[in-house]
Amino acid sequence: MTQFERKHPGLNLGSHHGAAHDQAEALVFGFWVFLMSDLIIFGLMFATYITMQGPMAEAGGPGPAQLYDLRSAWIQTLLLLTSSLTFGLASLAMRHKHGVAPVVVPLVVTLGLGLTFLGFELHDFQGMLAQGAGPGRSGFLSAFFGLVPLHGLHVTAGCIWLMVMLAQIAVFGLSDMVKLRLLRLGLFWHFLDIIWIGIFSIVYLAGLTG
């Protein structure tokens, strides 16, 4: 492994990528700062969710025990964690390998996993709505629907971004611009994984054990 100057936290492209590695410094650092800002939004939605627990906030409506399906949440967790693994494989391939295929194949798998995750999540929401447990039912459910779908919207944005990137790889190949964007999309994708671990622990596990 060649030694090179690390330009930013996380996976660096390395100096064998030339100009892309130099440009990554400000771009990726900027994206880290953006993620910090986004993390505050999630943090506050988590805090709101935590304060809106219990009979007062449930307002006589259903609570976690009646609503959450741990099996489905666990499947979603596995899907999302696996998608993070496959994105990681794509990033490593981008850094170490020649050719487009070793990058594109895991990215397509990532996209598939992400969309499947969204499918499971939407199915869960639909089930809740069908029971009359929508955000209009109680403050608790408002906090739930403020937090979990916010993550889902982020995953949706990530999937759209991923599709755009696949199109850009098709048009430009792995140009510097594309590589720099994939670096940032990777950070975004792993970030969403971390948020999901928070949701799984605080919303689903704590909700069902509490």
Partner: protein
């Protein structure tokens, strides 16, 4: 389908009575006439601007040189123009409220709803669309120059931030013409601003204008922070940065962390209003205290976000006009950092009376008092900078003097209010109104006006008129004192804030004095405009193309005025603090480099205008329930971003020969120009090459 079903699908809930002219005809009263008149002014103003631009054929240059520009300097100027336009409205609204309370014994001429709208728009405008864009503008213009950079890290993002701010400002202006703005004050507390109590479009205008502009500020913060971390010239270590840049760094960090709570507060309030959520409703388990916490988790850091750059401006101004390096640089940096950390620990003092236990209140009260410590350090540092300096009592120094004296008073009343027991007595009275105006006007506004005066010649190549500058500054200072000091007394007498009228005749003398003060402030605003007009008219006698009219100390003065679009022909090498002053001292300023390189600058893009127009339509669609419009404009914006992401050619190259030619012409002018002394600073002889005069050596 009948027209009754089709029209609401197209126009949502806009009706004929949404236009302010209609109620003025149907239900004539002074209050309605004022509303209709304001709408008329907006119409007329827009019409005149469009007419003038068309008449002079300025659409082309406006589009090419400004609206699609990614140059941080032009974006900075556009921010400040936006701020000044909005300030005109905000000041007039403030004066109108003072007049209403001046004659408000048992009545007055405004309806209570109209008065509530006025204090809501006044607060929202002054914070989000005057202070914020003015500060973003000054930061945008000055900060990259101070650190020896060619632009901010993300020029296109910068343009988008401006666009988002402009969307918010446009929505709040449109609310004068179409419908009514919120009556819920600038923090817009639910449940009052919830759907149950306020079904109209007012709170929705607030949500979308503040929410969208807030996103712009978050992105600005990211941009500024990354620029300072990554784009500094070689040798410009963190502790060699000018103090203004330090305050910008702290402000940027606050923006990154304090704007998200605002986004959450506005978004959740919107969910309550649009999708039947129950975050803050009275029924079904809503908890409005969550909103209050979220809002002030943004709102308190926000005031430090505003004041820190003003501290930075005063640091530059006082050092330059005292002819000395800043006293206590390290302590100022540490104080700035301490304030930005503490700013996140005091939000609860905005609602001591809202039900926490006494111990919680005490903790936040003590934290609030702590902020006075680093602020006090700063005040002493500024005074020590002046001590034994060779002070020129220029216009920015008049503002600085007004600031030092008045701001200390405002700060001390803040320490009083930080005490929960006192807060219980005077909260929700005019004492509070006097306090925050006393920190924001002498602090933020005077700072910005001092900066405007100080850096104007850098941006436009000519100095502002000094005589009108003094008149304006004195009018602001006196006007402020006469308007707001009576409010302290009124507050202690028990007059509640936000009252359209009152019944206690003992309030009347002081409300009348405050009204007189408001007239002085209006004169100050007019005088500011007159100054600009006269300065532009007489610009031939105030040219400073050589770039250093004030014997400046930092890098922005080492380049021509106005600077070329790439700022620095060659990126400067920095050896010490106050880089340009040190170069002048050592006699190595204005040197010709051995070689010039070609410079890549970001090319123009219309993405900002797409965001701006799309954002306004999106906001209008949401406010008026025109869902098709909201959907189309949202998808349009997303689509524009995707299309742009396929564009690969985003830079333009300026050839080395052109850079060399321009730089050599300027260097030749420098060599041919005599240095002017401090005595000639305000005379036509000052063409921007100030003599490097030092303070008297201390004995």
């Amino acid at each position: 389908m009948t027209p009754d079903t089709i029209l609401p699908m197209i126009f949502g809930r806009i009706g004929l009575d949404s236009l302010p002219f209609v109620p003025a005809i149907l239900n004539p009263s002074t209050s309605e006439f004022i509303a209709a008149g304001a709408a008329g002014v907006v119409f007329l103003g827009a019409f005149i601007v469009l007419g003038v631009v068309t008449w002079f054929g300025w659409w082309g240059p406006l589009w090419r040189d400004w609206l699609t520009s990614t140059d941080h300097k032009r974006i900075g100027i556009m921010y400040i123009v936006l701020a000044l336009v909005m300030m005109a409205r905000g000041v007039i609204e403030g004066a109108l409220m003072r007049v209403q309370q001046g004659v408000g014994l048992d009545g007055g001429f405004l309806s209570d709803g109209h008065f509530s709208e006025l204090f809501s728009t006044h607060g929202t405008i002054m914070i989000f669309f005057v202070a914020m864009p003015f500060i973003s503008g000054v930061i945008n213009y000055v900060m990259p120059l101070q650190i020896g950079a060619r632009d901010v890290s993300f020029p296109v993002l910068n343009q988008i931030s401006l666009a988002l701010t402009a969307v918010g400002a446009a929505l709040i202006m449109i609310s004068l013409i179409l419908g009514k703005f919120s009556t819920g004050g600038w923090p817009a507390y639910p449940p009052y601003t919830g759907l149950a109590f306020n079904p109209g479009p007012g709170p929705d205008y607030w949500i979308w204008s503040v929410g969208i502009a807030g996103l712009g500020s978050t992105l600005s913060g990211i941009n500024f922070a990354v620029t300072i971390y990554k784009e500094r010239a070689p040798g410009m270590t963190l502790f060699r940065m000018p103090l203004f840049t330090w305050t910008v760094l702290c402000t940027a960090i606050i923006m990154v962390f304090a704007m998200p709570p605002l986004t959450v507060a506005t978004a959740t309030l919107a969910l309550d209003r649009y999708l039947d959520f129950h975050f803050y409703t009275n029924d079904l388990g809503g908890n409005m205290m969550n909103y209050v916490n979220l809002f002030w988790l943004f709102g308190h850091p926000e005031v430090y976000l505003l004041i820190l750059p003003a501290y930075g401006i005063f640091s530059e101004v006082i050092a330059t006009y005292s002819g000395k390096r800043l006293y206590g640089y390290m302590s100022l940096v540490v104080a700035t950092m301490s304030i930005s950390v503490l700013s996140f620990t005091v939000w609860l003092h905005h609602f001591f009376t809202m039900g926490q236990s006494a111990n919680v209140n005490i903790a936040f009260g003590i934290a609030s008092m702590f902020i006075a410590v680093p602020t006090g350090v700063k005040v002493y540092d500024w005074m020590a900078t002046m001590y034994r300096g060779r002070i020129r009592f220029s216009v920015p120094m008049v503002y600085a003097t007004g600031f030092l004296m008045l701001f200390v008073i405002g700060g001390l009343t803040g320490v009083m209010l930080a005490n929960p027991t006192i807060s219980f007595q005077v909260h929700n009275t005019l004492f509070l109104v006097a306090h925050f105006h006393n920190v924001i006007i002498p602090g933020v506004l005077f700072g910005l006006l001092a900066g405007y005066h100080y850096w104007f010649p850098k941006a436009f190549g000519f100095r502002l008129n000094t005589r009108w500058g003094y008149i304006t500054a004195v009018l602001w200072i006196v006007g402020f004192c006469v308007t707001f000091f009576p409010l302290y007394v009124l507050g202690l007498m028990g007059m509640p804030r936000r009252s359209v009228s009152f019944t206690d005749p003992s309030f009347e003398p002081l409300t009348l004095i405050a009204m007189g003060g408001a007239m002085l402030v209006l004169m100050a605003l007019s005088s500011l405009m007159i100054q600009l007009w006269i300065s532009v008219r007489d610009r031939a006698t105030a040219q400073v193309p050589l770039g250093d009219p004030w014997n400046g100390r930092t890098l922005e003065w080492s380049i021509p005025s106005p600077p070329p679009e790439y700022n620095f022909a060659v990126i400067p090498q920095v050896w010490s603090r106050d880089a340009f002053a040190a170069d002048k001292e050592a006699g190595i300023a204005y040197q010709e480099p051995e070689t010039y390189d070609a410079i890549a600058v970001p090319s123009n893009t219309s993405i900002g205008m797409v965001v701006c127009i799309g954002g306004v339509l999106l906001g209008l669609g949401m406010v008026w329930y025109m869902w098709w419009l909201a959907a189309v404009s949202f998808l349009g914006i997303v689509g524009a971003f995707i299309v742009r992401s396929f564009q690969t050619d985003t830079h333009r190259i300026i050839p080395a020969a052109q850079v060399a030619r321009d730089h050599r012409v300027w260097l030749a002018q420098i060599a041919a120009s005599p240095e002017v002394t401090r005595a000639q600073e305000c005379s036509p002889a000052n063409r921007g090459r100030a003599m490097n005069e030092r303070p008297e050596p201390s004995l």
